[in-house]
Symmetry: C2
Subunit: 338 residues, 2 copies
DNA sequence: TTTGGCACTCTCGGACGGAGAGTGCTGAAC
DNA sequence: GTTCAGCACTCTCCGTCCGAGAGTGCCAAA
């Protein structure tokens, strides 16, 4: 695209994202292109409109970027906005003070992200394709009831109540714990499964089975933890002034099932994904943009981190801050975890 | 209050909660009091308005209950609405399928409550005034880094990374684990503290200190887990049509700090608490009502469960269903927990 | 190719007015 | 003394109208 058209498109996006008001030729002229006349800008705008990058709410209104307009902007025109120092240190502080457990960490990450981007955020707990058991513990609740505690890679705790066929004392359990620990710790579910097959019938096999079940659930992600935060930030945007639009978004956010699927679909090859308006598979997110990246303590353990806001979003700022939070969280988790 | 006035107040509340439209004398006459003339009803309404139970949005509009009107209704006129069988079994199913860990359980409870009351819900994890350690485990991460896993009463897991001054092997830790377990399990924080004071300097004392710190945090509730769900249900109500009202509510719900304080304040003597509109300490909840009860696996371990909606709420239905969910959750937790 | 000029279009906000809903009051009936 | 029909009154709601203002597209000249 011609250079000047690009500049004008960039200016329209910038102006509209900050003011939320359709931008006219005069506004552009006085604020961005003092050496051009508004008439010239008008003809450029008309051209950009013909090509599908801009649209007008009505005949005599200013221009608004279309989804394709935003798309062109993020693909070719956007440069990352530098992050102010106080935002940087805010992120650092938040991560440093984050709780050590995955649950708490994920919540903190979502909170921080929502706060620095002033939009809604989502975060899923890091998951590995091959979950490994780091440690395991058995606690006797009742004679035939055992609490199985599993510490997975990334310091993720899982617990499950197991009703066994045989009774066992805590002393027996302690011995069993030691045996299972040396057999399983550091091993993946495949290796655990081999162990399971060779084990003789009895309590040990029973418990091994449960361990494998937990690992499977975890790997399939059906147990996945997804949190969201910052819906209140969306309410400040004029596009959510009447609540009908928000309803749609909230349905996606609060229905964790949807969200899980959405995140899994979206996080494909690229490490930064921007989905704008109608590009969204889910029709509920019309008018919204989703910016996603991954994070986690290691290459094998990755979760998804995302920002959801109106398509009229400060993309360059959002992307920069999203990546900063992802980096901060990853570092912190690496430090605590694996 | 005279019997007929009560009936009329009840009718106004009922009509308004279902229709959301100010209710006039004619509507009451045709739907509730066929043997009375609308003029008679009008004079009764005028009386109820004088006494402060009703109000008019404007001179020639129908009546709307005031906060005192709702208060009178819930105190004297409300009778619990029976719960349909399918709702009952919905609750039972949800509780049966709930995960065994506290985190998951609390989330499930909030979700269920939001769903059956069609309002927003909050739930806090059960907490005891005296937390007891049920089991403890130490896992070596690095030579001088230990992951401390605490299983508290109610099967609540806590984890914390401890950086120690001395290095320790996993074998040493295993021994230490056994010693600490026999010393601490079933003991409250007071007893743990006695232990701590008598312990000689060293790793054991260091760890005991951390255990106590975790217990303290837990008892003070500053670590407390509070979740919410069902905000999308509020959006269906006309009082949240423009989003400004919702902003307030979301600020309370998403700022867990506020919520924690709110719940702690509110759950006083009674096991069922209804706070209507201006009775709310927090001015953010003007126009909203909060219905609260407690739940938990035992007498000593109680969490708070609440419904938040517009003051124009189906109180009798809400209370009945809230109590049903609380009962279901308590039973299930008792079964799993203590 | 750019630009000033100009007619045109559309929204926005305020004013106006009629329809409708609901009220309070009054005087008569029971 | 309670109930009720009748009636005037009040206020909202909604549609219409109109002028101001913003922005456009087009055209002819530089």
């Amino acid at each position: 695209m011609e250079n000047r058209k690009q500049s004008i498109l960039r200016a329209v996006v910038h102006e509209f994202t900050t003011s939320a008001v359709p931008v006219g030729s005069q506004a552009l002229q006085s604020r961005y292109f003092v050496n051009l006349s508004s008439a010239t800008i008008r003809s450029e705008l008309a051209e950009l409109t013909d090509r599908g990058y801009l649209t007008q709410p009505h005949t005599s209104a200013g221009r608004v970027p279309t989804d394709s307009g935003y798309r062109y902007f993020v693909d070719f025109l956007m440069d990352l906005e530098p992050i102010p120092d106080r935002v940087k240190s805010f992120i650092d502080d938040a991560m440093r003070a984050a709780p050590a457990d995955v649950q708490g960490m994920v919540e903190r990450v979502a909170m921080t992200l929502a706060s620095v981007t002033q939009n809604a955020s989502v975060a899923s707990a890091p998951q590995g394709s091959l979950a490994r058991v780091k440690h395991l513990d058995l606690v006797s609740l009742e004679p035939k009831e055992i609490l199985l505690i599993l510490l997975l890679e990334g310091n993720l705790l899982r617990q499950q109540v197991v009703n066994t066929t045989e009774a066992a004392s805590q002393a027996q359990l302690t011995k069993l714990t030691a045996r299972l620990n040396s057999a399983l710790s550091g091993r993946s579910s495949d290796e655990a499964r081999r162990h399971y097959e060779q084990a003789p019938l009895g309590l040990e096999k029973e418990l091994l089975g449960r361990v494998i079940a937990v690992l499977d659930l975890y790997e399939k992600g059906s147990e996945s933890l997804v949190v969201h935060d910052g819906v209140r930030n969306l309410l400040r945007q004029p596009e959510f002034a009447e609540s009908s639009r928000l309803t749609q978004v909230l349905e996606v956010l609060e229905e964790t099932r949807y969200l899980t699927v959405l995140l899994r679909q979206l996080i494909g090859q690229s490490d930064l994904q921007i989905v704008i308006g109608s590009e969204n598979a889910s029709s509920q997110l019309q008018g919204c943009a989703v910016v996603l990246t991954t994070y986690g303590p290691s290459e094998r353990l990755k979760g998804v981190l995302g920002v959801i806001g109106p398509t009229r979003m400060a993309y360059s700022q959002t992307v920069a801050r999203l990546q900063a939070v992802a980096r901060g969280a990853s570092d912190r988790m690496a430090e605590l975890g694996a």
